[in-house]
Amino acid sequence: MSCSCEKGSVRLRRQLAYLAGRAGEYAITLLVILAINFALPRLLPGDSFAYITGSTSSADYAGALDAHSQKVLRAYYGLDLSLQEQFVLYLSQLAVGDLGYSHFFKVSVNQLIAERLPWSMLLVVTGVFVALVVGVALGVLSAWRRSGNMDRGLWALLTALRSVPSFFLGSLLLLIFSVHWNLFPLFGARDMTLIYPTALERMEDILHHLTLPALTLAMGEVTGKYLLTRAAMLDTLREEYIMFSRARGFSDTAVMFRHALPNALIPVITHTGMRLGVMMGGMIFVESLFGYPGMGKLFVDAMSARDLQVLQSGFLMTSVVMVVMNLALDLVYVRLDPRVEVTKP
């Protein structure tokens, strides 16, 4: 008994040391990222002040802003500071969680993100969740019935789905479910023209608006998860311990979901984590197609307006999400793969 406690404590210490080491690496990565995030928007050609005042060669309003007004406005937006001063300001603001003030949108970046991030998160989390559940379930089913009609049918269907551009899929969903059958709204995350008397009605409205965008996002992701699950399951099902489990008389369901799936899930989870960055692109498209209020459109607008504060915050957020996802994957591996615990940091 005491021996097993001791082993458990050693194991815990090793895990903590491992995680501390990984966290340290990520902290250094984050610091490098901060400097790059600051530099990147400033390396872009284009002048953010020209966009604040609408004074580019493509401005819709010709006319020169006098020198005094320019000076006052530059000072107001902090654009009269040197690069070093801007960097110090950026770091000091960041230290207290302040992402700065958006030149173009005229509000704090924290507010801009707080208004949009929940919508984007809702969209992405729902899309990933649906893709993961459906992709894994179909992958398991396909592997279990390999070379059968269901396997061939699912493989053909999902591979075909992958070759259809998301733009076409989304538009098709809109045409069928929104225009033709009138089942779902055409745009937005909620009806902005109405007040709902109860939270339940409001939630129903939000879910109603979420269905088609999340489905479009999920349909673009499901094939990858299906193919990976299927391949991983096929490999796992050939393992000796699976044959042993069958020989011990476990039911098919138990062998599939309790013995084979946990091992097969590791590459699928890695894939999901790695795909998050790519999904940002898909998110921009889905937000644009469905008029969904999210981070994607914000960054597209900030890019064309050269809004430095929003851009650097966007880069920072993407980096943080990637770092956090990698860290989360490491944590999941520790849980899923017993071999990870003996690996020193």
């Binding site: 872009l44 050609p45 284009g46 002048d47 020209a50 604040i52 005042t53 609408g54 004074s55 580019t56 060669s57 493509s58 401005a59 819709d60 309003y61 010709a62 006319g63 020169a64 802003l65 006098d66 005094h68 007004s69 006052v72 107001y76 173009f104 949108f105 005229k106 509000v107 801009l112 208004e115 929940p118 919508w119 998160m121 809702l122 989390v125 729902t126 538009s171 809109l174 929104s178 225009v179 009138n182 709204p185 055409l186 745009f187 937005g188 995350a189 909620r190 902005m192 023209t193 109405l194 007040i195 008397p197 409001r202 939630m203 939000i206 197609l289 008029g291 969904y292 209020p293 050269r306």
Partner: protein, 524 residues
């Protein structure tokens, strides 16, 4: 995690207003996007942002289909020297909170502008308006540093009047999103704004001095697919592109009105370089491009061919017809290039001079349409090789602003309203000053002169000469002027129109607040 997100989103915007389903009266929903908080300092420097603000605030003068009309001021007089303008305010104009709008509010507006520079309004006001004085409650006198021809259009019909009793306390107007900052005198009150969703909710101001508002509630919503939304009846109007116009034309439930967009697509020559600085080369380019065909092929007819005098025929008050024209004549182009010394054609069809230099130029463009490819093919036919360099719009603008180009294609608005915009083509008050800009002493002098000519006949003469010089010297070659369209469901609101020269300083739109007013904006 999903449950937590839903909870957060349920709380977000709980305080925002909309309308309950059973509200009576007319609701109009138009497609839109986020253009900033619609306060005079909060809107983004874009036309639609300004227009949303004008639903809440008024100006001394306004514009309709024909031109400038009296608005807050019922009448005005200009002194003989053009330096003093006297405005008489109408009676019974009230702010949304019921307080009376007086001459003191107008005076305060210009004092406030002086202390808080505005990205748009200060361009016109600074250096022009010396002081503003109230004479009693109903009369305001503007003293200008010099006569200023665009005063009525670009200042009186553009700058919104601010309520002194509210704005006197606003110290940071750009970031102020207080509900008081949108309390104006206009035909609507703001009842909701969601930056993330790009939506605006307006309700009619029942006490508006210009009479009853036909629309009780006006919504702007961000729509991903406005064509579908209009056909389905979820919105009442949007601005379609040419392809969408073609799809909607046969729909009997939809009407389309066509107007000017005051948006120009033009070829820029870097005037400081050897080849592009040579007038013969620029003339050769002008003869090599078949502009009516370009309009048909690239814009499916949704534009007017460019005029070498820059001003669009849409701005008919100032457009001059007597300028030099360059009909499509590739043979003439070839002769002009030969006269420049490019009289040999190599095996690839590219012209070379005696020194063996190829007539090969880089042309900046931004990713839009097939125009640049068509132009490239036409120029190849006369032996000019064009290497297209397509850039994202901001990067493209930066290279143009810093004169780092040989040839460039640019597209922009800002050619409506007062023709003071012609001065931007020359190195006068240009932002930024550029060596690639036009340097003709006579043009520069005319540009200075037209700004202060308050006599329309004299000013028209100056502008005619400026257009003639532009057409002769071709510092830029206008390719076409894009048209604007508005598709709407008839029945709710009729009488949509395009404002003469565009609203205020030239914003092209069908959404003039006059269309919402019961009497079409006729003074009571």
């Amino acid at each position: 995690m999903l449950a937590v997100l839903l909870l957060v989103l349920l709380l977000v915007g709980c305080g925002q207003s909309g309308a309950t389903k059973d509200k009576k009266g007319m609701t109009l929903t138009l497609a839109g996007d986020d253009y900033g908080y619609p306060s005079p300092y909060g809107f983004y420097p874009r036309g639609p942002g300004y227009l949303r603000m004008t639903l809440l605030f008024d100006t001394l003068a306004w514009k309709d289909e024909k031109g400038v009309i009296p608005w807050l001021a019922g009448q005005w007089q200009m002194s003989a020297d053009g330096r003093t303008w006297t405005f008489d305010l109408r009676d019974n104009i009230r702010w949304h909170d019921g307080k009376a709008l007086t001459a003191e509010d107008v005076v305060f507006t210009y004092e406030y502008l002086d202390q808080h520079p505005h990205p748009w309004f200060s361009r016109e006001v600074k250096g022009v308006v010396e002081r503003v004085e109230a004479r009693g409650e109903k009369q305001v006198v503007f003293y200008l540093s010099r006569a200023y021809a665009p005063f009525l259009n670009n200042i009186a019909a553009t700058v919104p009047v601010l309520p002194r009793h509210i704005w006197a306390d606003i110290v940071d107007p750009a970031s102020c999103t207080d509900t008081r900052a949108v309390m104006g005198s206009g035909p609507f009150r703001l009842t909701g704004y969601d930056k993330a969703a790009g939506s605006y909710n307006f309700e009619a101001n029942r006490d508006y001095f210009r009479g009853v508002n036909k629309v009780d509630r006006l919504f702007f919503v961000k729509v991903g697919q406005p064509l579908m939304a209009l056909q389905k009846g979820e919105i009442d109007g949007f601005n379609p592109d040419m392809d969408q116009v073609a799809l909607l034309k046969n729909n009997s439930n939809i009407r389309i009105c066509e107007g000017n967009s005051f948006w120009i697509y033009r070829l820029l020559f870097n005037m400081s370089q050897d080849v592009t600085g040579d007038i013969r080369f620029r003339q050769a380019m002008a003869h090599a491009l078949n502009l009516p065909e370009l309009v048909e092929r690239a814009m499916h007819g949704g534009a007017l061919p460019g005029s070498p005098g820059y001003i669009s025929p849409e701005l008919n008050e100032w457009y001059y017809t007597g300028i030099t024209r360059y009909p499509y004549d590739p043979e003439k182009s070839r002769k002009l290039l030969e006269a420049m010394g490019y009289d040999r054609v190599n095996s690839q069809g590219i012209r070379e001079n005696a020194a063996g230099q190829r007539l090969s130029l880089e042309m900046l463009t931004f990713q839009q349409g097939q125009d640049a490819e068509i132009i490239k093919q036409w120029l190849l036919m006369i032996g000019v090789e064009v290497r297209l360099r397509a850039l994202e719009k901001s990067a493209h603008d930066k290279l143009i602003d810093s004169s780092q180009y040989q040839l460039a294609i640019n597209g922009h608005g800002g050619i409506g309203g007062d023709p003071i915009f012609l001065n931007q083509l020359a190195a006068i008050n240009a932002i930024p000053a550029s060596a690639a800009l036009y340097h003709n002493p006579e043009y520069l002098q005319l540009a200075e002169q037209q700004a202060y000519q308050t006599n329309p006949v004299e000013r028209r003469q100056s502008l005619a000469r400026m257009q003639s010089l532009l057409a002769e010297d071709l510092p830029t070659l206008p390719l076409y002027y894009r048209k604007s369209y508005f598709a709407y469901r008839p029945g709710k609101i009729e009488g949509w129109f395009y404002t003469s020269g565009g609203i205020a300083m030239g914003i092209p739109t069908e959404m003039n607040k006059l269309v919402f007013l019961g009497d079409g904006g006729t003074p009571p």
